[in-house]
């Protein structure tokens, strides 16, 4: 196919002065086929949505999720009006609740810690979670008392955390409307493990009602 030598044209020429695009060649067709194959690979995770099971923790969209080929299941599950959240609370000597930061369990970010804590609890390792948090809080307290910098920001948070005497691994039920209406305490919760800061964790199983939680009956 003949066409003007494009290399003779300035890059910044107005498009009206440029020659028309060349006719497609076999190379172009193969290039498009290769691109289509690449897109097909990216769309391969859609097979997770072909079957009848669309929801639940063992749904294909969660089982088949990977990186970088993902089923992108985030934001797709209906959460209803309430939820259970396994997490860790700190308790001061007066029974006040303090939420210790996720970094006391690991440095991979909040959501990674959340998943790791949930998985550990499902495995029956709630005491290990409590021990990890309690040891980290004890180390932070020792660093404060020794005047050593513990790095990073978060001075006010560390002051709050310094008052924690005990940590508990809990599974708490929250109602969204209440929570976002200002009632931030759970409706009920199960204590799964407990550990004094500087002590040894023990696995427990204790239920707490809304009244007990509201009344500060935490131990």
């Amino acid at each position: 196919m003949s066409r003007p030598d494009p290399s003779a044209l300035a890059v910044w020429s107005p498009s009206s002065t440029l020659p028309p695009a060349p006719a497609p060649t076999a190379r172009d067709v193969w290039g498009i086929v290769a691109g289509a194959a690449g897109v097909a690979v990216l769309l391969w995770p859609l097979r997770a949505y072909a079957g009848p099971q669309l929801s639940g923790k063992d749904a294909p969209k969660f089982r088949l999720d990977s990186f970088p080929l993902s089923t992108y299941p985030m934001f797709s599950e209906h959460r209803g009006r309430s939820t259970y959240v396994p997490h860790v609370i700190g308790l001061t000597g007066a029974g006040e609740r303090v939420i210790p930061h996720a970094r006391h369990f690991g440095g991979g970010g909040l959501n990674q810690v959340r998943k790791q804590v949930s998985r550990a609890i499902r495995r029956g390792d709630a005491a290990l979670v409590a021990q990890t948090y309690a040891d980290s809080l004890a180390a932070q307290r020792a660093a404060r008392e020794g005047g050593r910098p513990s790095g990073g920001s978060g001075g006010p948070r560390r002051r709050h955390e310094a008052a924690v005497q005990q940590v508990e691994v809990v599974r708490s039920r929250f109602r969204f409307d209440d929570y976002y209406g200002g009632d931030v305490l759970p409706h009920r919760e199960t204590v799964l493990a407990r550990c004094e800061v500087g002590g040894t964790a023990v696995a427990v199983r204790e239920e707490r009602t809304a009244d007990e939680i509201a009344g500060g009956v935490a131990r």
Binding site: P6, S7, A8, A10, V11, W12, S13, P14, S15, S16, L18, P20, A21, P24, D28, V29, G31, I32, G35, G38, V39, L42, L43, P45, L46, L54, S55, S66, F67, P68, S70, T71, Y72, M74, F75, S76, E77, H78, R79, T83, V85, I99, P100, H101, A102, G106, G107, G108, G109, L110, N111, Q112, V113, R114, Q116, S172, F174, F176, Y179, Y180
Partner: protein
């Protein structure tokens, strides 16, 4: 429209004849973003490498490992990935550093996701780096171009140069499209657009932030009781995600999609506190703003 014209239109749309400037701008833009993004997260990523090996849950290419790498080894690979990214961005021996950078970025980011939590905010970045690493993206604005003495912006028009941004945009579209299908193939179907599911997601996400020592965004709390707003946001999100493939057909549709998707990510950041830095930076949509001229149809 006869067969030949359809073929011409298809090739002109998916492989427009452009100069090497076009993919070069993408190589530099995405490479610079990746360099800055990973430098800022270096401490976090090293913390990930040093975790208790019992938390290791390999995914993707990292499944070749039975147990995690020693932290020092993982740290070295991370640093090597950043060094190679700089070389690929500058365009030094890109035929080697391009694919090598793609492989190293894929490894380091998959390794970051192999500890029990799949984040979804680096997928597009690493996929774009794979496209740019494998494509002819260093024939302009690169050390390679200087060494070949053809100038930093050779005035040659070839379809392989125009194909790169189209492929980048196709990757972007695929990511959004799968996300959209995930929503309508849920228990609520197209009812997802009512906003109820999105509202619940925002509620639980803010709750989790509070319970793990972060702070839920004030905007999410303020908007929680405005249910109609969530209907609007959900409907727009669904339209953007399921309509993403249309962005490949026309430049104006591509620009409209980019603006809408960018706005969606800004909203997610403000209301949910979930950051998609690659998307909010706008770099992920650079492919819809092609540099330099292309030969007309």
């Amino acid at each position: 429209m006869n067969g030949a014209r359809i073929r011409q239109w298809t090739v002109d749309t998916l492989r427009p004849a452009a100069t090497p400037l076009r993919p070069a701008v993408l190589r530099i833009g995405v490479g610079l973003f990746a360099a800055r993004h990973h430098r800022r997260r270096r401490t976090l990523l090293r913390g990930v490498h040093a975790q208790d090996p019992r938390r290791f849950a390999p995914v993707g290419v990292v499944r070749v490992l039975q147990r995690p790498l020693r932290p020092a080894v993982a740290d070295r690979i991370l640093d090597a990935a950043q060094a190679v990214n700089v070389l690929a961005t500058v365009g030094v021996a890109h035929r080697v550093t391009g694919p090598l950078n793609a492989a190293l970025q894929l490894w380091t980011l998959t390794y970051r996701n192999s500890w029990g939590m799949l984040y979804h905010n680096d997928n597009m970045l690493v996929l774009h780096q794979m496209v740019l690493g494998a494509g002819p993206t260093a024939d302009a604005l690169s050390v390679d171009a200087l060494m070949r003495r053809r100038g930093l912006a050779p005035a040659v028009f070839e379809r392989r140069y125009g194909a790169v941004p189209v492929m980048l945009n196709a990757v972007t579209s695929a990511v959004y499209f799968v996300s959209g299908v995930a929503k309508v193939r849920s228990s609520t179907g197209f009812g997802w657009a009512s906003g109820d599911v999105l509202r619940g997601q925002i509620a639980i996400d803010g709750l989790r932030k509070d319970l793990f020592g972060s702070t839920r965004p004030a905007a999410g709390t303020a908007l929680y009781h405005r249910e109609r707003l969530f209907t609007l946001m959900a409907a727009v999100s669904l339209a953007v995600e399921l309509g993403a493939p249309l962005s490949l057909l026309d430049r104006r549709l591509g620009l409209a999609f980019s603006a809408a998707a960018w706005g969606m990510h800004i909203g997610i950041r403000e209301i949910m506190g979930i950051s998609f830095p690659y998307n909010t930076s706008g770099v992920s949509y650079l492919g819809h703003l092609p540099a330099g001229p292309q030969l007309r149809r």
